[in-house]
């Protein structure tokens, strides 16, 4: 195996020995920052999420708990898995919360849904970004349940993808970018929602931008 490694590196080095190509010289005159204000970004984000068939509501910072509860109640979701680091202030006593501590995959799958926070939103593509920290939980909880309720703070929404990368110069250890619910177009290019991931995505945008 070490021989293979050496052989590959020898060949690659021989093939590129005359090359000079500097990272700094890569042309980057594409659009980095968008021109929308906070209201515009939220509007675009909402429009994109609607295009994907996701549900979107807005609420103030003070109303997070009630809004979460209302969304779950409307969707008739009772048993909800949550990451261990989610703010207790978000959790209404009326719902049945299951904290993700050593849960089996079967237990997670049996839940009606999952509630998480998020790390960023990209309005241009309607993308929810999870870095799977304490408020977002390990990857499996936002994957197995059929319903994902996601809290996105308005201050976390950027307009363009490059703006997201500027915000996180330090690469995360884990990341999932969600741009609409699970879908396939493998059969006659007909778009079908929900093959394996959650079929229903519901987003609460918290207006912390005033």
């Amino acid at each position: 195996m070490t021989n293979s490694r050496q052989a590959i590196f020898d060949n690659v080095r021989a093939a590129t020995k005359a090359d000079v190509d500097r990272y700094e010289d890569i042309p980057r005159n594409y659009i980095r920052a968008g021109g929308l204000d906070s209201q515009g970004r939220i509007h675009l984000m909402t429009e994109r999420l609607h295009e994907y068939g996701a549900d979107v509501v807005e609420c103030s910072s003070a109303d997070i708990r009630q809004t979460i509860f209302r969304q779950l109640h409307l969707g008739k979701k009772h048993q909800i898995v949550i990451p261990a680091g989610l703010l207790p202030a978000w959790l209404d006593s009326g719902a049945n919360w299951l904290v993700d501590q050593n849960l089996t995959h079967e237990q997670i799958e049996a839940c009606d849904g999952v509630l998480t926070a998020s790390s960023a939103g990209v309005a241009d593509s309607g993308t929810i970004v999870l870095h799977h920290g304490a408020e977002e939980g390990q990857r499996v909880i936002s994957l197995l349940p059929d319903f994902h309720l996601c809290v996105l703070r308005a201050s976390q929404i950027v307009e363009t993808l490059p703006e997201y990368f500027s915000r996180f110069p330090e690469p995360p250890r884990l990341a999932t970018y969600i741009s609409g619910p699970s879908a396939t177009a493998d059969i006659e290019m007909t778009r079908i929602k929900g093959v394996h991931g959650p079929r229903f995505l519901s987003v609460i945008i918290v207006r912390d931008d005033f």
């Binding site: 293979s4 590129t16 990857r139 970018y177 493998d186 059969i187 290019m189």
Partner: protein, 485 residues
């Protein structure tokens, strides 16, 4: 039913493989429909992107930069992936990669493995080797599952089952999943796949994936997908093996800001794929606790050393060149006899085969350059096609059988005739005389004998005019440069 031959070493030459496919109107209808739908979506989303050309230039420059500094970035990736808890393996060729994967699976005592769609695993023909080793591979991408259960082969890089329609999918699923009542609406078919695979995701402890990108900066791997089967395979198993070509590396995490944008728009006509996953090594308490990366050369370092051909390795497998190619759109992917079909397959496959197989593929193109125009990383495919044709001709020139090859002899004769003005004039005179027998009254040739018949099989040829240009010119000179009246 026996599937098409997708091993470049065994597949018939392109024109021969294409012939029966061109008779299959159902398949051609399916391919035309799918490529039309993707192209329409792609064109709409590219048009809305004001900085599309700037993104393309940046994407091309990033990929070219990586290739020029490949050893550096591979070392960096290896170092960072290892530090994050991954195990990096190196494979010079397909056989070595298969062996590494089988050894890992044996150590894990795996009898079954779940797979995310990976072109590289098809390239190294992994599944048949796994079967031989007593390990059954379960494809979890919906299209790959359709093909696997239907004993069929992929015909497209991104939507590999585009040649199959819903009635055919229904028939395959009903038979293989024992669901005789299954209706043929896509919704129900996808639901059947969901149920079938959910059990596998929850019970099979080992997974195999490819990689869209390897990030040198932190040793992470990126996978883009739509269905969520990828996330399942990357999250639920205990052990994950990622197989990737050595050219897949990117310098930095932030380079994804360019590549993800151009890939999604080019591949499926979306602003971003529904799901993108990134992970570095092993993350305690989240996902597989054993992670292996198998980095595959298999001819890539050889391509890297060729001046014109190197750009082949810039490819990010979006398949935009397939959807737009007037040849692919007629034949679909099976005629290419390789998992890599279309224009990119026509340049990649023969090179991966060290120019020993698939030499007909560089000719499977009209050189119209539509592929170059849509390529998000600006691979000049026609340029590479022409260069590879030259290489094929160079090879043929060395072959002993050349003296019995009518094409070679014809070219030799043409070379002789075109080499001198008087020989050319003589040939024109005889040609005119000879062709008169085959020229219809309206001046068109519709049927030539022997080798010429291949030309007139699909096109008409204008007959030789009474006066050639040379005759006309000579006459004009004789009149002192005045036009004939």
């Amino acid at each position: 039913m026996s599937g098409p031959v997708m091993d470049p070493r065994l597949a018939p030459p392109f024109p021969q493989a294409a012939l029966p496919i061109l008779q299959n109107t159902q398949l051609r209808k399916n391919v035309a429909h799918a490529t039309d739908v993707i192209q329409t979506k792609r064109n709409r989303l590219v048009a809305e992107k004001q900085d599309w050309q700037q993104l393309r230039s940046a994407a091309a420059a990033i990929r070219a930069h990586v290739l020029a500094n490949l050893a550096h970035y591979l070392e960096e990736f290896e170092k960072n992936c290892t530090a994050a808890g991954g195990v990096v393996h190196w494979a010079r060729d397909a056989a070595e990669a298969r062996q590494i994967i089988i050894d890992i699976l044996r150590e894990e005592k795996a009898t079954e493995v779940i797979k995310i769609k990976t072109m590289t695993s098809a390239e190294i023909q992994l599944n048949p080797s796994l079967e031989k080793a007593g390990i059954s591979a379960v494809e979890t991408d919906l299209a790959e599952l359709i093909l696997q259960l239907g004993d069929d082969e992929p015909s497209h890089i991104v939507v590999p089952a585009l040649h199959v329609n819903r009635q055919q999918v229904r028939e395959i699923f009903a038979r293989r999943m024992s669901l005789p009542q299954l209706p043929d609406d896509p919704e129900a078919l996808a639901a059947a796949a969901r149920t079938y695979l959910r059990k596998k995701f929850l019970s099979v402890p080992t997974a195999i994936s490819g990689a869209n990108f390897l990030i040198a900066e932190n040793g992470s791997v990126a996978i883009v997908e739509s269905e969520g089967n990828g996330r399942m395979c990357l999250t639920l198993p205990r052990t994950l093996i990622t197989l990737a070509g050595i050219e897949k590396v990117l310098p930095r995490f932030s380079d994804l800001e360019v590549l993800l944008q151009v890939l999604a728009r080019s591949a499926t006509g979306e602003r971003l794929n529904p799901y993108n996953s990134l992970w570095s090594g092993v993350v305690p308490g989240d996902g597989p606790q054993k992670f292996h990366v198998v980095l595959l050369d298999n001819g890539r370092s050889e391509i890297l050393g060729r001046k014109v051909e190197r750009q082949t390795l810039q490819c990010i497998r979006c398949a935009a060149c397939l959807n737009t190619c007037p040849v692919y759109r007629q034949t679909g992917g099976h005629a290419y006899g390789s998992p890599y079909a279309g224009p990119i397959g026509a340049i990649l496959t023969p090179q991966l085969e060290h120019m020993q197989h698939a030499q007909s593929l560089p000719y499977a193109s009209s050189l119209c350059a539509a592929c170059y125009e849509v390529c998000p990383v600006k691979i000049n495919i026609p340029e590479v096609l022409i260069d590879l044709r030259a290489k094929v001709v160079d090879q043929e020139r060395e072959e002993a059988s050349r003296w019995t090859d009518p094409m070679y002899m014809g070219m030799k004769a043409a070379n002789f005739v075109f080499g001198s003005a008087s020989r050319f004039r003589l040939a024109q005179r005889f040609g005119k005389l000879g062709l008169r027998f085959f020229t219809d009254k309206d001046g068109w040739i519709r049927k030539l004998p022997s080798l010429g018949a291949r030309w007139t099989l699909s096109r008409d040829l204008p007959g030789m005019p009474d006066q050639t240009f040379r005759d006309w010119w000579a006459e004009r000179e004789a009149r002192g440069g005045k036009e004939a009246r």
